[in-house]
């Protein structure tokens, strides 16, 4: 029996699980963090820091999740602030605001679906590079 091959496969299995968890954890934290979309971002930062010495595969996926969370965080925070100002300050509800809220909901929905699909694909050992965030993740994560 080739023990090196077995330990290699075991390590690969552990990496897949860790990378997959990076996606799943961001979803769980998203539910806990509503309505202020900060907890999921924080969770992704912590998870990335904890895995900064992990394999290239794990680091790559942690970074992709983190970049996606940062992007959605800014989008959501702007929408949250706008909504609060309408409810409690002198801004009036406008078609632009409703359009933005719908857009934010759509982007969040897309991100949730993308996250779930990625988590499942990675768990099965398939690659999952997002169209927008994949290239920047390639640039940010070093192989060494």
């Amino acid at each position: 029996m080739d023990t090196n091959s077995i330990s290699g496969r075991l390590q690969e299995e552990i990496d897949r699980e860790k990378a997959s968890n990076a996606y799943l954890m961001s979803l769980v934290a998203l539910m806990a963090g509503l309505p202020l979309p900060v907890l999921n971002l924080l969770a992704s930062v912590i998870f990335s820091l904890l895995n900064r010495k992990g394999s290239y595969f794990v680091r790559w996926h942690c970074t992709q999740v983190l970049i996606s969370q940062i992007s959605v965080f800014f989008l959501n925070s702007f929408g949250f602030t706008w909504t609060m100002r309408i409810i409690f300050f002198d801004l009036s509800p406008s078609n632009e605001w409703i359009a933005y809220v719908i857009l934010v909901l759509l982007v969040n929905l897309l991100e949730i679906i993308g996250t779930l699909v990625s988590a499942i694909r990675i768990r099965k050992g398939k690659e999952s590079s997002w169209w927008l965030f994949g290239p920047i993740t390639d640039q940010l994560v070093r192989k060494s």
């Binding site: 963090g33 309505p35 202020l36 900060v38 907890l39 609060m84 100002r85 309408i86 409810i87 409690f88 300050f89 002198d90 801004l91 009036s92 509800p93 406008s94 078609n95 632009e96 409703i98 359009a99 933005y100 719908i102 857009l103 759509l106 982007v107 169209w131 927008l132 290239p135 920047i136 640039q139």
Partner: protein
């Protein structure tokens, strides 16, 4: 890197196109939600007013209402403030207090009117509360409290988070109190009302302050400092003050609420 930037541009353009397209749909007109903020504010104000009334019932006295409305009009008209939108309530309570609440309600406790020796003293308080309402402090206070509550919950509601939140809140309150004092003085000046009465009221109130909190922890700057600030500013004003009420009307107001 070029791939990323070109894809980012495409994504941003797509997001903008979707947002722009959606914003052409007349949601506000179709669903009639233009009054969302106003309605929230009014409902909240009515709810708070109901709670206030439970503890301090409104005094229904035509003569008191007439005099109070006359005073309030004399303050609002020269400042071009729409006084008709405000709901002025005199509530029975021994507490020396007045406050503005969302929904354009201004509550004056009977204890404050009894405590005042002249209409000028009362007018100073009304000007201060009007300033809170006109400067949008009530809505920003609700906003601030909501944010602090959410952040406090997000950090697990720890004691440290609660204490920091409380200190931030108090500092924010002090800043608003100072703004309301300044704006209130501007109202008094425009309405040609002598602010010395307001300063005198603060000096009397300072004698009531049994427990002195450190300044950074209290929401209102201390009474003596406020009285001195008013007296300093008043020294620069032209002495063209108008008489506010006849002695008879002032006494009738005091009698109506006693």
């Amino acid at each position: 890197m070029n791939t990323f930037f070109s894809r980012l541009l495409i994504t941003l353009a797509l997001l903008f196109a979707v947002w722009f397209g959606l914003s052409r749909i007349p949601f506000v007109e179709t669903f009639g939600i233009a009054q969302l903020g106003k309605a929230t504010n009014e409902n909240l104000g009515d709810a708070i007013m109901t709670t206030v009334e439970l503890q301090s019932p409104i005094i229904s006295s035509d003569s008191a209402e007439v005099v109070m409305n006359e005073l309030f009009r004399k303050l609002c008209e020269p400042n071009r403030v729409n006084y008709a939108k405000y709901k002025l309530h005199i509530c029975r309570s021994s507490e020396v207090n007045a406050f503005a609440i969302p929904g354009d309600h201004i509550v004056v406790y009977s204890g404050l009117i009894e405590f005042c020796d002249s209409p000028e003293e009362l007018m100073g308080v009304l000007a201060h509360e009007l300033a809170h309402a006109e400067l949008g402090h009530l809505k920003s206070k609700i906003w601030k409290e909501s944010v602090i509550a959410v952040l406090s919950n997000a950090t697990g509601g720890s004691v440290a988070a609660g204490t920091i939140g409380e200190m931030v809140s108090k500092s924010f309150d002090r800043q608003q109190e100072e703004e309301a004092d300044q704006q209130g003085m501007a109202y008094l000046r425009a309405a040609k009302i002598n602010p010395i009465g307001f300063a005198a009221l603060f000096r009397k109130m300072s004698e009531l302050e049994l427990i002195s909190l450190p300044d950074f922890m209290s929401t209102h700057p201390d009474c003596i400092s406020r009285a001195e600030a008013i007296e300093r500013e008043c020294a620069q004003w032209e002495n063209n003050f108008i008489p506010l009420l006849s002695s008879g009307k002032w006494q009738s107001l005091k009698k109506a609420i006693s």
